[in-house]
């Protein structure tokens, strides 16, 4: 033992890989899943707040505001299109993960860029929707509690998409500098798919259920 170098002693403690964990899952992946589970609580809170306030805009004691509600102005065909775009981005994301698992960096980068473009299109659609609501329909963030709850929920989702787009762009940038780990792309993919399933719920609960 006395002849062993410091590094060799470390290898005896972690014979296969220094990243081996007791669960068999890397810390990064486990951390992302725990974060996503906690994000369920965050979005659950925002969705239930919207549901409670959506039809009670004006006559709440102590609060002022107009009695218009966001659902009067929903453009379902337009929102369906943006939902379809986000759904498509989930497909391109999973194809990107599959490509890196095959070691195909070129296709991985291609699908990552496609996902980024689709995510940006979704964000542009949301910005357009908000602009119409604000300037044409007079729905401001402080118009009443119903509009506040609506903007807070959909805006929070939009921020998640924006963070996802930044993460994807970062991955594309890193892929030009060095070899990517498949798991890094997978972890970003998990975040992206979560953003998609949250929209699946928001689209149904907020936009489609009368």
């Amino acid at each position: 033992m006395g002849d062993l170098m410091y590094e060799e002693v470390e290898d005896l403690e972690f014979p296969d890989d220094i990243h081996v964990t007791s669960t068999g899952i890397s810390n990064e992946k486990l951390g992302m899943w725990v974060y996503l589970a906690s994000d369920c609580l965050l979005f659950g809170g925002m969705i239930s707040t919207y549901l409670i306030y959506k039809n009670r805009p004006a006559q709440i004691e102590g609060l002022e505001g107009g009695d218009i509600i966001p659902s009067q102005f929903f453009d379902i065909p337009f929102t369906s299109m943006t939902s379809f775009i986000l759904l498509m981005s989930s497909l391109t994301m999973v194809l990107s993960v599959n490509a890196i698992m095959r070691g195909d960096m070129v296709r991985m980068r291609l699908w990552l860029v496609a996902t980024t473009v689709l995510g940006s299109m979704f964000l542009a659609g949301q910005a357009y929707e908000f602009t119409i609501f604000y300037f044409d329909d007079g729905l401001g963030f402080t118009t009443n509690v119903a509009t506040s709850a609506f903007y807070a929920l959909t805006g929070l989702h939009g921020v998640h998409v924006l963070i996802g787009v930044i993460m994807l762009l970062t991955m594309v940038g890193i892929s030009y500098r060095r070899k990517m780990h498949a798991e890094a792309v997978e972890v970003v993919g998990l975040y992206w798919h979560f953003v998609d399933i949250v929209w699946v719920v928001i689209f149904t609960v907020v936009y489609l259920i009368p």
Partner: protein, 136 residues
């Protein structure tokens, strides 16, 4: 993997298998098209009132919630690899989701979300029970 299979496959195939723990591209396209059809069905409920009358509304809500749950699990199981990953991840995620649903169902119930009397007042009391006729 059996020894027989190992000997009949090339090293590239083996390497590919070792690094893949999800579905194939073809499978993902299939899931995507299923999701597209389900979304189209969801969107169609917007016009069910015109096509089938207002009586179809409760059915539409039921269909929408069912389709939402199916879409949720399809994305989580296939695109997020929960179908193939270790069960501990499934437990972590679904535990968070179930806790969220339970907490907010309780919160909404406490705010009379289900028993709202139809006015726009916040936290209005549940509707009064029907009067009971006095018996001798």
């Amino acid at each position: 993997m059996s020894t027989e299979t190992s000997t009949t496959k090339g090293s590239d195939d083996l390497e590919h298998e070792e690094h893949t723990h999800g579905g194939t591209d073809k499978q993902y396209f299939q899931i995507f098209w299923i999701l597209v059809v389900l979304t189209a069905l969801e969107v169609s409920t917007e016009w069910w009132d015109e096509w089938f009358g207002e009586g179809s509304r409760p059915i539409a809500v039921f269909v929408l919630i069912t389709l939402m749950i199916i879409k949720f699990f399809l994305v989580a199981s296939y695109f997020m690899h929960l179908k193939w990953d270790t069960p501990i991840l499934k437990r972590i995620f679904y535990f968070g989701m179930i806790v969220a649903i339970a907490v907010y169902l309780i919160a909404m119930t406490s705010m009379n979300f289900w028993t709202d009397s139809g006015t726009t007042e916040f936290n209005d009391p549940p509707p009064a029970p029907p009067p009971v006729e006095a018996s001798d």
